[in-house]
Symmetry: C2
Subunit: 506 residues, 2 copies
């Protein structure tokens, strides 16, 4: 059931309920018809009735078998801060027909979400179609993309395997600034290790990663232009006055190494200058992008020369990034080169230098790399991850299911679009091996499914529970649960007196 190799990450985030993460998330972030309906309800005196809404989706995204539920904290934050400002009320007054009565605006002025109750599955948990339940509306916006991108991240983690580092590099291709920030947050919840996005790092405390671009490499001409050439050793005991020459010396040594002969001749001097400058700036964190000119004939040898020079001064270089070409082949060739250096110059650990790969990666390319065999340690994934290219939207809907304790349902000629009436409880039934078997919904006041053991002869046998598919009469199964978990917990108690589950929101 643990869909993501690295498990849910939400406990590593640091939310605070005081104010929305995104200041644009105000009560106006909604469709106009929510206000026209609110007015009509108010006019008809229906605003005091008690209504229950279900928020759910009908189909798992990406043709897959599960969805990672996310966006809950943003929803709770939204209702915790739900209050109209005078400026917002003026805007609404100017937007609605002039026939709307003043009393409505007084009503809006007075409302907050203290009468609302929210029950939901926990953020970061795996959920299935039709069973997520929530109250209140712009939630759909906050849940849809969050759950979609968290699910996408979990799927990438599943393909990449637990041992690889997954880095989210999507900011520049995301759907707007907040698309980028949300992507970083929910990819982390879905099992990624770090992001390149500094704003997300600051807002959520997500680890950040990043080195340099091709432009950095091509902005240099040759090592001659490096003015400040000195570098103190890692332990501070000595200073190398000409690090640039030290790098050149190492490059010559590599060039004349018998086992590496023929792989490369002259390397690109602009690239060498860029790597040397970068190492002078970040001696403790030297990671270089090696594909600006030619990976094996320039990038990797240049990198090794700088890394060996750093090693002389006690620093350990981090690794390389590949951003083009045949990533499987190049990573294997680079790995061989690193091991050759380790052997030749007796630098322990040099062979295990980290190799990061990027360049339009997605689930399919990760799978193809696995099949080809590769030596990549970390994947930087952008466009396909954050825009959810394979399926750009999750079809979350929000349906009225009960009003004043009376059931309500939406009918449709398409049976899959019929809503299931009444307030519900949801349970996950676990089998003998500890894996979940099935999720079931019951009416609010029905007894919960029980794990009851009955003695049959000398055996202790757990009782069977009959589970039916909501729409397909032929789909039914007896399940013998060893454990029952209630899925929907109270995250916002309103005035109900129910004790909220704050574990993931404070």
């Amino acid at each position: 059931m643990e869909a993501k190799g690295n498990g849910p990450n939400e406990e590593r985030l640091r939310p605070e309920l005081d104010g929305p993460t995104n200041p644009m998330v105000t009560p106006l972030l909604t469709d106009l018809y929510q206000f026209t309906m609110a007015y009509a309800y108010w006019k008809a005196g229906k605003h005091l009735e008690r209504a229950v809404f279900d928020l759910f989706f009908r189909k798992n995204p990406f043709g897959g078998e599960y969805t990672v539920f996310a966006g809950l904290e943003e929803c709770i934050r939204f209702i915790a801060n739900f209050k109209f400002t005078e400026e917002e009320i003026s805007f609404l007054r100017s937007s609605l027909p002039s026939t709307c009565e003043d009393g409505f605006y007084d009503y809006l002025r007075g409302i907050d979400c203290s009468d609302v109750e929210v029950y939901a599955a926990s953020e970061g948990s795996v959920v299935f179609p039709k069973v997520v339940q929530l109250l209140e509306t712009p939630f759909v916006n906050l849940i849809n993309y969050a759950s979609l991108v968290a699910t996408n991240a979990a799927r990438h983690r599943f393909v990449a395997g637990k041992s690889k580092a997954l880095l989210e590099f999507g900011l520049r291709r995301a759907q707007g600034p907040d698309g980028g920030i949300s992507a970083s947050k929910y990819c982390y919840i879905g099992g990624f290790d770090a992001t390149s996005n500094v704003a997300a790092g600051r807002l959520f405390g997500i680890p950040m990663r990043g080195t340099h671009s091709h432009a950095f490499v091509s902005s240099f001409m040759s090592p001659d232009e490096i003015v400040e050439k000195s570098l103190r050793s890692c332990d501070g005991s000595s200073t190398c006055e000409d690090f640039v020459s030290l790098v050149q010396t190492w490059l010559s040594k590599i060039q004349w190494t018998h086992s590496l002969r023929g792989i490369f001749g002259e390397t690109n001097q602009s690239e060498l200058a860029a790597f040397t400058s970068y190492a002078l700036a970040f001696p403790t964190n030297f990671l270089a992008l090696v594909d600006t000119y030619d990976v094996m004939r320039s990038g990797v040898p240049n990198y090794c020369a700088v890394a060996l020079a750093l090693s002389d001064l006690g620093y350990k270089a981090v690794g390389i990034r590949l951003d083009s070409g045949d990533l499987a082949y190049l990573s294997c060739e680079a790995r061989k080169f690193f091991f050759e250096i380790e052997k030749e110059f007796r630098v322990p650990g040099f062979g295990k230098m980290a190799i990061t790969a990027s360049n339009d990666l997605n689930e399919e390319t990760l799978d193809a790399l696995n099949k080809q065999g590769h030596e990549v340690d970390a994947f930087g994934i952008g466009t396909y991850l954050v825009t959810c290219y394979a399926q750009a939207a999750l079809g979350c809907v929000f349906k009225l299911v009960e009003i004043n304790n009376q059931p309500r349902m939406k009918l449709s000629e398409d049976v899959s679009k019929v809503s299931i009436p009444c307030k519900k409880r949801c349970y996950r039934l676990y089998g003998r091996e500890g894996y979940p078997l099935v999720d079931i919904m019951t009416g609010e006041n029905e007894p919960p499914p029980k794990v009851s053991i009955i003695a049959v002869a000398y055996l202790q046998v757990a009782e069977r529970i009959l589970c039916r598919h909501p729409f397909n009469e032929s789909k039914r199964a007896y399940v013998v649960p060893q454990r029952v978990e209630e899925l929907l917990k109270c995250y916002w108690p309103g005035c109900s007196g129910v004790i909220p589950n704050l574990e993931c929101i404070t």
Copy 2:
């Protein structure tokens, strides 16, 4: 060349440069490696050099032939407000290695964008691969999605035709809150008429549209529950004490109309109650969603009864919305019904009642509706429009092309990924009929293409200009321009003394 039926809408927006639209758009909204590189440049003393970057894309989106350029105002707003706060500098200090020198943070404290110049095509204009030029970096995030969704909107406008109203209904399915707000803004620039998104309406002054949902309809039981039944006539001269009965009377009349006999029997009373309540709340703006139960057997007759009752009091109902089923067929049937009512009860204009259609519409479904023949006046488009489902990202890139007046280029084994060096000028050449023929790039200091007329015998002939494809030698053409337009205007002059083009940014 006017790709969108309704032309660019940007002049209808009301931007102010004072502060970003989205408060998350701060100097931290960038990749970590921008800061590591900035530090390395600063360490190497290269931060004082003058660099030129091109921002461009390699391929038009959606398999199409053009892109609508958008996001420029957000970029200008970003640089106009570019300044690090002390809190941001502290965060950076804690995020970068402790070896980074203090002087760098002092340098960050001091910088703004007064040394930057930005040249660009105008927002909302049609552009082609490789020719958009800009400076500075998180621009890519701001331009990518903006241009993508504006292009998507323009394509929907092209298919729908000029005479139809296009309404953006995407907020709930957009990629996060700002995904929704940006979508509303750039769909409007791309040729949409209105949005359902209230926050976007307030921020940008975009017209808003919206009525009610299926939940509103199913929240009512029967007309008996309507307590406040009186409605003043439109001119204020009289009051109908029981509007509910007036609606019931009209419903009976329609039911006994010979020409409508057999279409429907009993209509749904919950729906009738909802429509009546909505009309009492919005007598001047009555528009009803008619597909909660059955469009032709309940929704349309109920709608007509309420609309006719409103008509008795001098109000003109607006129309219906269809959100499921065969939209082409149902719109034609509803239209026939309306004309029958107009004829039978002599209500002028009733036949032309507006019909709005929604439900997972996209370019293909609009095209299919056109082919089938329909009576829809307005389309509400959501998911496919705002998430750019057909292609969720535009591949904008940002490449260094010149430094200290020296050309720079990125090489690649893939020739289409080679960048074109040097600062450029771009021109659009127009032919005899006033249509653009081709866009060309020249070096910054090359003479602009001229419209020169030479007399040949008794004919006046314009001079030919040889245009070459940047990468494909076999693609070349002589063009005889009648008019030349310079595409890249200065939108941010920095200290260059160039007079900025403020037409779309103030």
